[in-house]
Amino acid sequence: MNTFTWLLKREYWEHRGGFQWAPLIAAGVILAVFTIGALTGVNAAQSNLHDAVINNVKLGDIAAAMTPEQRAQVGGALDVALFFSAAPIAITLAIVTFFYLLGSLYDDRRDRSMLFWKSLPISDLQTVLSKVVTATVVAPLFALAASLVMMLGLLLVLSLVVMFYGANPVTVIWGPASPLKVLGKLTLLLPLNALWALPSIGWLMLCSAWARSKPFLWATLLPVSVATCISIFDAVTKLRLPDSWFWQHIVFRALFSIFPGGWLDFEGLERRMDDKGPEVLLNALDLQTLFAPLGSVNLWLGVAAGIGMISAAIWLRRWRDDN
């Protein structure tokens, strides 16, 4: 293994709890909530009905009578449900990554273990980049693995429910649903999430490398107070300051781009879905949608700003002399 791989491994050792366990716990919570919901539903149904009947038709019979088209619709609905059930994991990932980045170049300065790392033949460029790769690749891969576990778990619980109603889970659930396709779509989002997140990554790492103490307060209060000042000036003076632009393109990009899918053109998606049902959402999330942001100046300006701030963080890591 080369030095860079070892650096990634080091980040994993240090942040196992955040990268590996937090998404798994989130997955467990989603599964538990879903299972409890299903159990309550089944329980309620049991007390009302002797057999699982909807409008006097057995669910098993409905399932058997489904046309291939209907089956595809069920599959589409299941896939969309799976896709959005991963949202809590994505939010967990974003929060973990946010605090990981804030501490990435600060924690070892505070506890002075930085001098140990600096006594080894590792360049500051490698160190900082290993943390960028951890935030953009390693951590999301762990979250994806947790998402897969959760999706399979959800389908399993659903199968049991369906079986309870006398239907065949293979034809009703496992045939139509395609968890792997959903996972594939989620994986496709990775590179764009990473590019989109660069301004946040850069800003948080810059604060982490620069702050003498309390990087969180610097990272949040600095942009928020500047934006607030601009808003106030805009309100009380006749100067037409672009305050909402500043909030949207500076403050939010610096702090919240770390949330996956923030670059999605939700209005466009809605327009494409309007004529059809939500089941076409996954199809709407095709390469065309995914690569559309690559053509936007906004994305690339953010990437440039992110790279600039990461470079500044590397420089600070090399020369910050406060130990």
Partner: protein
């Protein structure tokens, strides 16, 4: 023989205060140099400059490299323990060994494991579960298993009890040091390293006030125990220092001929600690 460290007009200022003031020195290969000075004299700044951890004015070459621009190359051959360096609390012994073995081409896993076999450290242990002495043992085992050409130790045994300290200096000399290596040590426990040093450097207010080999120090400095009746004669020879003990005066002389001093009383080799006290007189005044 080329110098391992060569400093010319080395200066470092922090705002208004001067940590290093136009310092010149050179350290040859195969030496064990004690860099001794009071708190705030510039020891740590000098070491940081050598290790490329801080910017400076003047010229400094370490193993022929510029520590500012070629730090990465330099760290292949240089290792250090900073006085305040601690190992990260989450690190396990086995992870520490794996990591250093992975990134350092000159690290010997066998050597490190041999050092650790003499301690109570277990592979699964985390730094946060260790006592202060155990953390230092782990750190020293890692560093001493690296075949570095220059080893810099800034207060390596800070906070350790005397058993650990003795053992550390002994294994540093027996298991680590050879003619290809150079060691720079700073410590406040001067008396413990005095017998392993080959060279001595005193630093005061950012200046090097003494830079000599231990042999030269033995030649230059003499301590004489003088009875009160000869005290005036001794003072006339302009001693470096004077202290009283059991009604007698002990004078420390720099460069005065030994036969002449023998006439005044019993002469002996001063300890580094006494030399240090005499040299640094008035530092905190």
């Amino acid at each position: 023989m080329s110098a391992v460290v060569q400093a010319r007009n080395l200066s470092k200022r922090y705002g208004a205060s001067t940590a290093l003031d136009d310092v010149n020195f050179s350290i040859e290969s195969g030496r064990i140099v004690g860099l001794i000075g009071p708190n705030g004299a510039g020891k740590t700044t000098a070491l940081k400059a050598i290790l490329g951890l801080t910017d400076f004015q003047g010229e400094l070459s370490v193993l022929g490299l510029d520590p500012r621009r070629q730090r990465h190359e330099l760290m292949q051959q240089v290792c250090f323990i900073a006085d305040v360096a601690v190992l990260p609390r989450w690190l396990r012994v086995s992870e520490a060994i794996d990591f250093v073995a992975g990134v350092h081409p000159r690290f010997s896993r066998e050597k490190c494991e041999a050092f650790l076999a003499r301690t109570k450290l277990k592979p699964r242990m985390r730094v946060r579960e260790m006592s202060k002495g155990m953390i230092v043992q782990l750190h020293l085992a890692l560093v001493m298993a690296i075949d570095a050409r220059l080893l810099v130790l800034d207060e390596p045994t800070l906070g350790l009890d005397i058993l650990y300290r003795k053992e550390f200096y002994q294994s540093l000399l027996n298991d680590y040091f050879d003619e290809q290596k150079t060691i720079i040590i700073t410590t406040h426990q001067v008396e413990e390293i005095e017998h392993i040093l080959t060279d001595l450097m005193f630093i005061r207010d950012g200046k090097i006030v003494l830079d000599a080999s231990m042999d030269a120090v033995a030649d230059r400095f003499t301590e004489v125990m003088v009875n009160p009746d000869k005290a005036a004669a001794a003072r006339a020879l302009q001693p470096l220092g004077e202290r009283q003990i059991f009604g007698k005066s002990i004078f420390l002389f720099d460069g005065t001929e030994k036969p002449r001093l023998a006439e005044l009383g019993e002469t002996r080799q001063p300890s580094i600690a006494d030399l240090f006290v005499a040299t640094m007189k008035g530092t905190y005044a």
